[in-house]
Symmetry: C2
Subunit: 334 residues, 2 copies
């Protein structure tokens, strides 16, 4: 905000150590088909965010190059000198070794395996970088700047096409022994298929209650005799129709909420976790939260967590990435 | 070992600060009907253990008085002066606030509620005390002196009459926000009843795969036409007969292991935990571990934890209590 707008953007370390309150960070969210980059100030406030398609891009270096383009545009827009950038945090849609900065595996991005993303980012941007799984970063975002700021322990449930959980215990992301904690798409609850599933296939839980699973539930019940609604609806459209009173859509909503409540109940029992934050395009639908709450109350108070909606919505991952960058910048400063 | 045997035992703080390697601790395991107290040296080695019935005893002070009697007998036996006792650790069979030393609730002991057990122990013994849930202490025992010494993260599954889990993450017991983590008797997996259960009733998971549940499975299938075995068998006897080749007993074993494998799989997914330790009278039966391993392998390698048997057997809780006491003594010394 102070420096004149640069004509050419050269990423590099700041020429002098940043002061508290000084400098900016970048947060990035690498999705299956879209990339988003946010510019934030040192308090984590996102000034703006840019988006680009990475559909069909497999090469991690190309993704990083696209990230640099978006970052350059943001720096220009806000007249921020590259030297004022302190760090970058990025979320990846797969199993991510946050300690070594490696994306171990993902079913998106045409199957990245053992990609040293942190090193690529540090090479490209010339600033400290950190990475984590995107759902974990969404949880971290809610913990730092969202609905869960007061919670020591909580679970963020990302319900989109599939389903995943980011687990925060004692204010830290619980990653697990091989960076796979919270892979609840494969959870076994009453009503799911007990058949083992192959590599790359959706898990039995998300096959029922992820966005695609909800669509499949609808398709399996739909007939022109049952409903006047069209056959081809998304999960959130189905929930909209449930809210408007359609009987078939309400049935799909009830069954989805029942099974989700089983999953939440199991996690609440195991972790004894008081708060669940619903996020993701499907998880943010208000009728879903209401129906899950009703179901959980029916089970009694043994494990009756508070069910709240993400405060950050589709900015949760980016916000987490920004706060990860702030932590990295603080660590780099000593 | 050094002091002459005392005639009368007066508990009191040591007259001078203990040196490393100096002194003794007590560990206690309060069960539903039995109380056990162990005397251990400062390395955690259990010298001996005494047992007494507390069937029908509800008053916590009476339980503590019984504990003192057992401790006195142990001190006499090993010629240990009361002044050489540094601390006592105790496990309780219910929800236990380890921070404040309170047994919040238990379905055993005729329903203790909000019992300040730590304070009672410190009053009675005159030494620092600490308490925790018994399954948590069993996990802690395996972590410090049992099969899981090398593991940062693992789950101890206590399968006796009911079923519970002690969860160790980053070498610390994960207690949860209201000291209820690991209450997996209520887990919802394919095949359990989906009906909500009342307070005090066994959970749907343990109702199938706890010791009593296994007996019920057997009773539900038994008929003189099916088997020549008696109707009245315990869970471990049923497993013995399964090992010997009885078809009906093998069916109960297979169904039990299948459902237990679902529960373990769920916990392994959520926590990304590499090791599960089977304990408790039923959990220690070797055919159960073998059958669970076989079931888990069938699900593939997404969550394929190592299944091992408790190394400490029925001494796991006591060993955990002893090591809790050692930690308390070390903290008291600064």
């Amino acid at each position: 905000m102070i420096d004149p707008p640069p004509r050419e953007v050269h990423y590099g370390t700041a020429s002098q150590p940043a002061l508290p309150g000084d400098g900016f960070v970048l947060g990035a969210d690498i999705g299956g088909t879209n990339l988003r980059v946010a510019l934030a100030d040192s308090s984590g406030r996102i000034l703006a965010c840019q988006r680009a398609s990475i559909a069909g891009v497999r090469d991690p270096l190309q993704v990083v190059a696209r990230m640099r383009e978006l970052a350059s545009a943001l720096l220009s827009e806000f007249s921020v000198a590259p030297a004022a950038l302190r760090a970058i945090g990025a979320g990846a849609p797969g199993v991510t070794d946050a300690e070594h900065g490696i994306v171990i595996a993902t079913s998106y991005l045409m199957g990245w395996t053992d990609v040293p993303l942190r090193a690529h980012l540090e090479d490209a941007f010339g600033i400290p970088a950190a990475i984590d799984n995107d759902v974990n970063l969404a949880a971290f975002g809610e913990s730092r700047a969202g609905i869960a700021q007061a919670a020591d322990d909580f679970v963020f449930l990302a319900i989109g096409t599939g389903i995943g959980a980011g687990i925060v215990l004692n204010r830290q992301i619980h990653h697990g022994s091989t960076w796979r904690a919270g892979e609840i798409g494969y959870l076994l609850v009453p009503g799911v298929s007990e058949e083992p599933v192959g590599h790359g296939d959706p898990g039995p839980f998300e096959a029922q209650v992820g966005g695609e699973g909800i669509r499949r539930q609808w398709l399996g019940r739909w007939s022109p005799a049952c409903t006047s609604l069209p056959r081809d609806l998304t999960a959130t459209e189905i929930f909209d129709h449930a809210r408007a009173g359609d009987a078939l859509a309400s049935e799909v909503l009830r069954d989805t909420a029942r099974m989700l409540s089983y999953g939440i109940y199991n996690l609440a029992l195991v972790l004894n976790c008081p708060i669940f934050v619903l996020g993701g395009s499907v998880g943010l639908h208000p009728v879903l939260g209401d129906e899950i709450r009703r179901r959980l109350r029916q089970r009694g108070d043994r494990a009756l967590p508070l069910i709240v909606q993400s405060a950050l919505g589709d900015q949760a991952q980016l916000t987490g990435a920004v706060h990860l960058a702030i932590d990295v910048a603080a660590t780099a400063l000593g």
